[in-house]
Structure formats: C-alpha cells, structure tokens
Amino acid sequence: MAVAEPFSPATASMFARTLFLLIPLAGLGCFAWIIWRRIIPLLRAAADPRWEHFGVRLKLVLKIWLGQWRHPRYLLAGVLHIILFLGFLVLGARSTQLVVLGFRAGFTLPGFGGVLGEVYNVVKDYAATAVLAAVAVLWVRRAFFKIQRYAVPEGLGKDHTPEALFILSLIATLLLSESLFEGSLLAATGGWAAPGTLAWGFSHLLAGAAIPSLAKVNLISYAVHDLTFFFFLCLLPLGKHFHVITSLFNVFFMRVRTGNVKPVRHGVSDAQLDEVKSFGVKKFEDFTWKHILDFYSCADCGRCSDRCPANIVKRPLSPRFISIKARDHGFKRYPILGAPATEPEPLIGGIFSEDEIWSCTTCGACEEECPIGIEYIDKMVDLRRGMVDEGKVPQSLQKPMASLEKRGNPWGKLEKKRADWTKGAGVEVKSVEQGDTAETLYFVDSISSYDDRMQKIAQATARVLDRAGVDFAVIGKDEKDSGHDVRRFGEEMLFQSLRDQNTESIQASEARRIIVNDPHALNALKNDYANMPPVQHMSELIAEGVRSGKLKFRGVDDPAKTYTYHDPCYLGRHNGVYDDPREAIDGIPGLKRVEMTGNCRDRSFCCGGGGLMLFYEPEEEQRMGVVRVEQARKAGADVIVTACPYCMVNIEDAIKVAGLEGKMEVIDLVELVDGHLQP
C-alpha cells in the first residue's frame, strides 16, 4: 500500500500490538498441538504405502481437489461449495497478510506489492462477497430445508445442523469482519473499492464518519477477525471441517486403481501370512493411517449414503456413519487433552454391528461419489477379515464358504459337472480338461457353469465366440470359483487357495487371452490375480465385432419394445467398461434404447450384489433389485439388458417380487446378441 494509512491495528497501542502478536502465537501453538494429537493415531496405525504413481496422484489433486470435479454431481450444493472452496483459496493470502498486519503495519506478502497486489485486492473482494452470498444460501438451506442426506438416523446421535450453522456463521463473521476492516480503512482514505463488493458496501456505509470512529471500527473488526480466525483454525480439526485441512492430502493419497482390494497387510507377502497373528481390522488401530485420515476427512455431506444401495433399501449400513462413528471413536480414544486410550476396544459389537458390515455389496457407489476421495470397500473387507478371523460369520454364509472350499463352487455341486453346460451349447466347446488348447481361454466361473438359468448365458457366449471366429477353450472340471467374493467377504486364505489353483490351470492352458461373461470373474482375473494374460469381457469383444463388422445382426425381433442397459457394478464402476456394452446393443438395427438417466453409468444402482451376497440374508425393507426394476420402468423400458449373471438372478427375482411379470423382461447382453446373429 503506497498511501500512508491513518490508522492500523499494529499502531493503535502497545497493548493492541502485543495482543495481536500473542493471539497468532497462541493460536498457532494451540493448532500445532491439536494437529500433533491428531497425528498420533496415524503413527500407531497400520502401514499403507501411497507414494507410487506420483504423476497420477498429482493429476487427481488437480482434478478432484482443485478442480472440485465431483462436486457438481449434486448441482446446487456442489456449485455453492466450489464458490466456498475457491474463495477460501483466494482469501488464504489475504488472511495471512491480515495476521501480520496486527503487529507489522503496512505489511504485504512478498510479490504482492505492485500490479499483482492491486489485481489481487479486487479479486479477493469479489471472492469474499461471493463466498458470503454462498454462505447465506447455505445457511438458509441448512436451517430451513430438511435435506434428506443430512438427516441423522435414530440412535446415531444428535442432528448435525447446529454444528453446520455454527461453522457457516464463523465463516460469515470472518468475511464480514475482513470486509469491515477493509471498508473502514477505505472510508478513512477515500480509496477505491471494487464495486458491488462487501468492502465497497462498508466503505460507502461508513463514508463521512470521523477518523477516530473509523479507527475504532477498524481495530475492533480486526480483533474480531483475528480471534475468529484462530478460533476457527483450532476448531477445524475437532469436527467435520477438518476436511478443510486434510482434503488436499486425502485426495493426494486416494486410491489410484479401482476393483482391487488391499492386501491383508501391506508389506507382508502371501507366503508370510501364516505368521500374522491377527487378520483384518478388529480395533481402531488396525486401520491403516490412510483409512484414519479418511475418517478425519469426512465432511458429513452424506453423498455416499445417498447413493449407497444398502442404505437406500434400509439395511443397517450407512457409509457416512461408518466414517463419522469411526472418527468420533478415534477422537474419543485420542483426545486433545488427556492420555490416549491403551485398552483395545473391539469395533464389531461396539460402534459397528456385524450386519452393518455384511450388508455392503462392494458396489463402489460410495467411493465414486465422495468428493474427498474417501475409500470404503477396503475398510469393509478388512472388517470382514477381522470377523472371519474370529469365526463371526453368519450361518447363511458358512455353508457356501464350506462348499467353495470342498467343491470349488458355493452350491457344493460336483466338480465333474462343471462343464456339463457345454453339452447344450449347440457348438463344440473345447476344454483343457480333455487336452485341447486354444489361443483364448473362456473362464466361465461358478454361476454360469452350474445355475440352470445362467448356463444359458454360457451357452450363448460359446455360440457368439464361435460366430466371431474366436478359437477358445474352457478349463473344465479343474476350474474353480474365481474366489472374487470369497476375498471381499473376508476369507482371504480360501481366496488365495482358489486363486492359486486357477492360476495353475490358466497358465497350463497357455492361453494368450482370457474372455469372460461374468464381471466378477473379470474383476478377479484383472485385479486380484497376478501374471494373467489380458482379460476381456464379452461386451468388449462384441463391440469390437460390431465395429469391425465381424458380427452382424439382423433387425431387432420386437421393435415395439424399449430396452435399457443396466451397468453391472463390476463391469462399469470398477472396470470402466460403459460404452462397449451400449455399442453392442446399439449394433442391433431398429432397437430402441433409453438410459436410466441419473442412475446409469457410474451412477448405476446395484442389483443386490453377486457372489456370496446371493446367500446372505439381509435385514432390509426392500430388495435392491426391485428398486432397480422400478427405475427401469420409470425410464420407460420394458426390457432390461444386463451383462452379469448375478444381475440377472437379482433382476429376474425382483421382477417377480415386484409383480411385474409380463410387464418387464430381463435378458443378458450375450443372449440378446446371440438371438440376433444373422443366420
């Protein structure tokens, strides 16, 4: 500032200057202490190496953190938050300058003298104004409108609205006090303020007031700002606004791959697992430091739970409260003042119930939605590992797990019957069991091999592969369940046993590529198994066939019907295959297809879960499949096309339960294609 100032907080009095030096010192000291206390549990937590893929991580920070990429998915709140966030970033420099102005009159940040400084002043004033407007809207919205995803279910504590309103009020105080500080100074100097901004407003309001009065206003507003700022700073790590500080780190360290599951313990190889005393997460300190950081970072926005299918059908699971409860548990065990707890406290039976953790279908909707990069699936899997380790497995799951161990499939059907489906395929199906070799291996997996209905999908797959000219073979009776859901239900050792057996068979087949019709198998082979040849889903192969012209379809059988495509979780969200299935369907001339807008692609609604989830008996008010079928109906469809045999089971059942037999049909993509191949 070139113009000499008529007053400033640093020159008001010796007392003032001392005070404004002590406040930041005390504030920062307090803040540092609080941050240190928050770091302690991270040091006691399990290891989690998150430095690799540095470049990818930087991109994620730019896109998700700085770019607020996920925020507009909830448009109003999203845009308001973007304003708030960008405003905070912009005002960061001003806030720093303000702190120093308390004891160093006329201070400007290095580089902020000159043109940059002038431009910045304008920008910051508009920023402050915009942020206040946003805060006002948010305040009214929060106070007077019952937004569903913010509601706190019974038994989970008090409503969070007072906390939210309090923080918003503090932010408003900061903005107003800063603008008043600026405005009072401008009124005294007659300086120019950017029109329409708060500072401009205050400067006009105060124009003509006597200098001593302005000095008082300036001093008081400064003091309010200083105190509020450091109060706010120290308050952040105590609640959901901790994310203001942690979000940058949480996004930097967020998961870079989807579909995979963390190892039992980072740094412990499979061979060393026998030495591990305890598997999974049983107490708070068993979580990795990143998971604890996740708990800290939860902004309580409720988007995860709003999209969580388990939560929507009222199973006892709400991902938001997994984070909030764990966070509060952590805060209790590691208080700011007082000694940290030393006695281990079991989480299951404590803050979490068994059913709560078994209810998760691992669909990934929560992780897809979270704007701060919080992960849930690994935590669920770890908690399940802990329960399995203690034998706490629901009876309904024990039987299929025992069958998987003994027979390699959850129904306990005979191994030698695994390839019986090939007899009805209508084309010859080679099998490694019979000594055949082929360039492509068709990994069928359990449900398509054994289930009467799903065998039809396997048979259709064989026919389509044949028509596409693919030289393929199946493993035969030595194929075991991929173990995909065994792993996600916490039985890691059984998964490894199945994985190792299959790996041997796959490598012995010498196939150079693997084809699957089952997205769970796709995910397992791609993301759980190692050293596999490239794996493709049938939808990808069919889309390729459509593009190259190798697969030609005749006109759709029933042009009057409206089709819609249901994105299976493990094909879409977890493996990013959204377009190929659509291209495949659209390859059928005359087929009318609609989207379940708002619930398609990465917002697809889980059918109810596959693998072991078919056996679990959940407490719920409705079936997920029924919700999905109703969504299809609302979109105007009468045929649902899916690309996963588990989705098929759930949706077929749901159609019956919803009483829509005759009004809604479901068909697998491969069956649809098979039915329309040109003769």
């Binding site: 019956k656 339960v657 009483g659 037999e661």
Partner: protein, 322 residues
Amino acid sequence: MKIFALITHKDGVADDSALELAAAASALFPGSAPIALLTGSGSTLESACKDVAASYGEVWKFDAEALAYPNAELTRPLLLKALPAGSVVLMAHTTFGMDLGPGLSVKLGAAYVPDVVGAEGLEGTSLKVVRSEFSGQVSAHVHADVAAGAVVTVRSGAFRPDESRDKAGQVVDRSADAAGLASRRRFRSVVQAEAGDIDITREDVLVSVGRGIGEQENLELVKDLAEAMGAAVACSRPIVDAKWLEKPRQVGTSGQTVKPKVYLALGISGSFQHLGGLKGNPFIVAVNTNPKAPIFQVASVGIVADLLELVPALTEKINKAK
C-alpha cells in the same frame, strides 16, 4: 417273546401312534398280541387306557404322581422292572421315543432298531426291517438279532393305523412297579412355541401356495378356498421371501415341518427343500401349469391347470354344498 407297545397320551386321549404301533406289531411280529403300556397319573391315564383297550388285548397301567409328565429317565427304570427278560418294546419315533429308547435297549440288553419305516418280518430271531438314511435319499435293509429282545421305534405314518378297535382289552393295574421311582432328571416346565397365532404344524388340512400364484392379490383366492375348506393357508419359501405371507406359514426344510392328512399344493413346483417339510403320508393334490413339475412325482393326485381358474371354481362348489 412278549411284545409291548408304549403308548403316549394327552388329556385322556391316546396319541395317533397307538394305532400305528398296533399295525406295526402285526407287520413286524405276525401273530403277536401286543400289550399296551401306559404311564401317567389320575383320570387322564384312566381314559387313555380305556381308549386304547379297544385296539390292544391287554393294557398295563402304571399310575404314579411322578409319572404325570412323561419323563424318559423315570420310564426307563420302570420298564426295566416291569418287563420280562427278552421283551420287545415298540414305541413311536418321537422326541420321547428318542429320549427313552437307546438307553432302554442297553438296560434291557436288547437290540435297538430305531426309526423303522417298513417291515420285512421275523425270521427266527432275526428281525428284518427297512430304515431310511441320508435324509430319505436311500433306504436300507437292516437285520437285528432280537434273541434277547428289542426296542423298536417306528416312524410316524410308516404303518397304516389299525383302526379295527375290535379288541376288548383288559386294563391291568401294574402301578406297584412304579413305586419308589427316582431319577437324576427332574421335569420343570414346558414353554410353547411362540408361533404367533399361526401354527400350521398342528393342521390336518393345508392349502399351500407357491410361485405359481403369480401376483400377491391372487392370494385372496387361496384364502377363500382355505376358509371354505376349514383349512389353514401355508406356502413355499418364495412367497415368504416376497413378504406376501409370514414365515410361520412356510413349509420346508428351512420352515415348518407339517404332517397334515390332506395337502393341496397350488402352484408349487415341488423342490426337495419344500417337500422336506412335508412328512407323514398326506393325500397330496398338486395343481401346476407345468406337467413336468417334480411335485407330480410325489402327489397322490395331479392336475395340470391354471390355479387361478380352478381355485375359485372349487371354492364355489364347496360353499354351495354347505
């Protein structure tokens, strides 16, 4: 050797098994004149003995206060005292039979032949029976050396009850044998099952509905039929899963086990799990649009028809005839 049949009774009436045991005795030991054994106390024992006397030539009554509630641990030493060596004791394969039988056979030094479903007969001292193993998936021929007697339990419904009631049985009071009975197990109380107000296990006639019913509204038709028949409504698992009927109405291995006399299976395919809950030898009428439904293997009478048409027609017929 003397053949005895241990008869259980409630509220003065003998259990249905009494007549089945009489039939079993004839089948297993042709020409035998089984003696009925009843334990209990007071007037209810009295009436039960009279009830049974029409079917057995001789009835031995054991009246003692300690025996008011059947306690296998008391009945066992009682029978040990009262029965001559080498006796054969027949009883129903019930929770009481399972409690009493094995230990009794050891104390008597006799062979134990449990859960008999069929009789081949007696050859010298070799008793030849048919048993069922592996949840009914296979049957087995079993021979038992009954030279030193036997304790045989008979599966309910395996033998057609002998309804002749043509014997004027003598009731012999053997209560003296029951004096001074003691055991190291003392009865306390019975807590009834909290079935709510639905207990299909006690029903003689069940109208059972499966997926073939189509829509939930159609259940009304079935309820009307059940009402006209004076029967209870039951169902298979998918109906409960869909929450159209309550769980206590489900017949099956994961639901209730029922032993009705008449079972109407409407729109039920007849899966092993469902049939696993259907015991005894009910008269099964199956209605299904699929002629290949497995239910037709086990049903007595089958109809390939749309139950939505047949059921109201039947209800009307029944109501008209009332």
